[in-house]
């Protein structure tokens, strides 16, 4: 059970944070199709910074500090990269779908170009000597003690980065709904002319929305590189950015439902990748594996379930009304 939840969280958290990234951008009125690209770029920058610092001989003993530096670098990298989208969508009023697609093409190309120049091979890794994972001992839990469920999930074999991301997710969700900034940002995605008429600088809010989106997607990319890819950046995040986009639509641009959608998807994904090892009630029988269903059925499951749920919920889907429309101050 604990294993199942932990594995689900590994998929769920990056998905959630990147879907929230999309939400911030789209709630401000800019379609962010570039999540995948920004993730790739963020993952690369995060890994690169950790590598540079530890190659310089610093921080070998402070893995957790390095982790924070990596996170910050990934976020800043993602934020800067997303500015390319902001410029094209906001200043140049270009088609946002095309702009986003361009970034999705640019990120892997750029990252691979740089990785090969830097390492001469196709990947860049965090040094193998660094272990960012925390074990029970790090939390002061004595060896041999029986772990309860909470300790199993949160205090053994965990990456702190996931908990940082979760914290950030909660904080940003609260900001989106209960602050002046959040109210204004959402108004720009729904009715920019209304926002403009009460003196809100729509384009500025959209810049902020896209940049927050970029930092979060960068973070999501780094989480992916750290956990799922074992500390490597390869110019690929396995379509996670697109999946996050799906989770965002699926979650109706709302942080709470996004978390739910991400959980459903993460759980399915977790079953697909580890159904042989899942012991549901702890009796030593691997029920799913014994069913004799092809592993491919499990693999298809998360995608198929998303499709089916979408088919039933699409009628209630409410995208921000003004997303994708450039705002022109001069227009009434």
């Amino acid at each position: 059970m604990a294993f199942f939840i932990q594995q689900t969280l590994v998929f769920m958290i990056p998905l959630m944070i990147v879907a929230l990234a999309g939400t911030f951008s789209e709630r401000s009125g800019v379609i962010n199709l570039a999540l995948e690209g920004i993730m790739i770029f963020g993952a690369f920058i995060g890994v690169l910074f950790i590598k540079i610092i530890s190659d310089a001989g610093l921080g070998q003993d402070h893995a957790q500090l390095l982790l924070i530096i990596g996170i910050l670098a990934a976020m800043i990298g993602g934020g800067i990269f997303s500015l390319l989208l902001a410029v094209s969508a906001i200043n140049l009023k270009a088609d946002q779908t095309i702009g986003g697609t361009a970034l999705n093409l640019l990120a892997p190309a750029l990252v691979m170009f740089l990785i090969i120049i830097i390492t001469g091979s196709n990947t860049i890794n965090t040094p193998a000597s660094l272990d960012f994972m925390l074990y029970r001992g790090d939390f002061g839990i004595a060896e041999g003690k029986e772990l309860n469920l909470f300790e199993q999930i949160f205090m053994n074999k965990v990456y702190l980065s996931n908990w940082y991301a979760l914290g950030l997710y909660v904080i940003l969700s609260v900001i989106l709904y209960f602050t002046k900034f959040g109210l204004r940002l959402r108004s720009c995605g729904e009715h920019p002319q209304a926002a403009d008429s009460v003196g809100i600088n729509v384009n500025k809010m959209r810049y902020i929305g896209v940049t927050i989106s970029g930092t979060l997607a960068g973070l999501g990319g780094f989480l992916f590189a750290l956990t799922a890819a074992g500390g490597a950046s390869t110019g690929d995040v396995a379509g996670m950015g697109f999946l996050a986009l799906a989770v965002m639509i699926f979650g109706n641009w709302n942080p709470l439902t996004i978390a739910g959608a991400a959980f459903v998807f993460g759980a399915c994904k977790c079953i697909a990748s580890g159904y042989q090892y899942i012991d549901i009630n702890g009796d030593g029988i691997y029920a799913l594996a014994n069913l004799g269903i092809s592993k491919y059925v499990y693999m298809i499951l998360p995608y198929a379930i998303t499709l089916i749920i979408l088919a039933f919920t699409s009628k209630n889907s409410h995208a921000p009304k003004a997303e994708g429309q450039p705002f022109d101050h001069g227009q009434r």
């Binding site: 190309a109 699409s314 009434r332």
Partner: protein, 470 residues
């Protein structure tokens, strides 16, 4: 040296032409008549081409800057030298014509049949995936599901071409059956997306993403080493872990060459490129000359007006996705039925890039089917240039991917370019003159203001009605 010489000639031609253009236009304007050049320039299509070319040039320019930025950086022990830079700068433009180095170590150019032939061979599936994205776009759908459709087409083409015994049925007939079954497989697969969009109003981007992955897993399962129903099609002589499906030549099925291999000796080229070009022309005719195309475009430009006019938009959305899927799958069929390409699919972690590359191809050509032939060839040419850069310099082939991404980025500004070209946006505004011009025209457009008001008005209505659009 040839390279510099070529460049000089080009510069002289462009410079001379610009001087001619400016002088004649000035004279014509002063005397109130139009030159052929002005008439030519006034055409919308010409402006589209000019803005696409501008995007290409800007992309190449920024790509060159990238190359320059990395001079002197170390790469696995050796640093990138100024010579690498000079070579790479040449190759990014003329890579397809590079024929090696001369005895002094400098690059020489000429007819490189292998490179150019391979370029056309690579362009073949790109034209079709580009058409796939382009046709869907005309109907207002963003088809990022081409990778999945491409995979379904691949599977269908391979299974059909390898299982029908060639001693019973002539290989040429098998080729046609395989080609058609690929198209049907792709069309059926893509119509899932179309049906979801038309009847349930599910955003096509998200269904495309989901069906892509489902297609990838399905195809993987078909050719699974142990459990796949078609694992007997795997070539046993291959690598233990990455088993390839037999080349279709194994069953004698190969695309005919039509003598193209004589023109491009040593390359993979075959008649597939001609088929692709014919399909592009066919699509051009369908979209621009027929009632069917008119209906498709109506649904894409304004689905409400299409509905008002009695056009069954649900039908056309589904049909346009099906056509898009068929086109992407046809691209796969042309690629794999060539007889000399291998297919392996043992992972579900990524999707075939050719499918995604249809997007830049279509966007660069503004989704015009004829334009797509050229943009696909250009993208393939960039690829070849990238390979030459990797082979001949210390840089790597990804520079060409960077350039093509940049071109897409800049082509997003096509609208702005077009407005600048037609003088709607002035780069340097002269205030006073504007006012006096305005006085002259104002009584011609008395209800300009009404129009403006109405436009935003209806925009508001439009947006309240729209569900999720991506």
């Amino acid at each position: 040296m040839t390279f510099i010489f070529l460049f000089l000639i080009l510069a002289v031609i462009i410079g001379g032409f610009s001087v001619y253009a400016i002088l004649t236009t000035k004279k014509a304007k002063a005397n109130g008549y139009e030159t052929w050049l002005m008439k030519f320039y006034a055409k919308d299509s010409v402006k589209t081409i000019i803005s696409s070319v501008t995007a290409i040039l800007l992309g190449l320019l920024v790509g060159c800057l990238f190359l320059i930025m990395f001079v002197g950086s170390e790469m696995s022990g050796r640093s990138i030298s100024g010579f690498d830079l000079i070579d790479a700068l040449q190759l990014i433009f003329f890579g397809g014509f590079n024929t090696g180095r001369n005895e002094f170590g400098s690059l020489i150019y000429g007819w490189n049949g292998v490179s150019l032939g391979n370029m056309l061979f690579r362009a073949t599936p790109l034209i079709l995936t580009g058409l796939s994205v382009g046709v869907a776009y005309k109907t207002g759908l963003f088809n990022i599901g081409a990778p999945g459709q491409y995979l379904m087409g691949t599977a269908a083409a391979l299974i059909v071409s390898l299982t029908i015994p060639s001693d019973v049925i002539p290989p040429f007939i098998i080729w046609i059956i395989a080609f058609l079954s690929a198209i049907i497989a792709g069309a059926l697969w893509a119509s899932i997306v179309g049906l979801f969009k038309a009847f349930l109003n599910v955003n096509e981007v998200i269904t495309c993403i989901m069906t892509n992955w489902i297609a990838a897993i399905l195809v993987t399962s078909l050719f699974d080493k142990t459990t796949g129903p078609f694992n007997f099609l795997l070539d046993p002589s291959g690598d233990k872990n990455y088993k390839f499906v037999y080349k279709t030549a194994h069953n004698g099925v190969e695309t005919i060459k039509l003598g193209l291999d004589k023109l491009f000796p040593g390359s993979q080229i075959n008649a597939g490129i001609i088929v692709a070009i014919l399909i592009a022309i066919l699509m051009f005719i369908i979209i621009n000359k027929t009632t069917f195309g008119y209906s498709l475009k109506s649904c894409g430009s304004n689905k409400h007006a299409a509905q008002y006019a009695g056009i069954n938009s649900k039908l056309y959305i589904t049909l346009s996705m099906a056509i898009a899927g068929g086109l992407a799958a046809a691209g796969a069929a042309l690629y794999y039925l060539s007889g000399n390409t291998e297919f392996t699919w043992s992972t579900y972690q990524s999707l075939p890039a050719i499918g995604f590359n249809g997007i830049p191809v279509a966007l660069l050509a503004s989704c015009n089917p004829i334009g797509i032939i050229f943009s696909a060839s250009f993208m393939a040419y960039l690829d070849i240039s990238g390979l030459q850069i990797r082979n001949m310099t210390m840089y790597n082939e990804y520079i060409s991917s960077i350039v093509s991404a940049l071109i897409v980025y800049f082509s997003a500004f096509a609208l702005i370019f077009k407005q600048i070209l037609s003088g709607k946006i002035k780069l340097f505004r002269k205030k006073k003159e504007d006012i006096s011009n305005a006085v002259d025209t104002r009584f011609k457009e008395e209800d300009y203001n009404v129009d403006k008001k109405e436009e935003t008005d209806s925009k508001e209505v439009e947006t309240t009605e729209e569900g999720g659009t991506e």
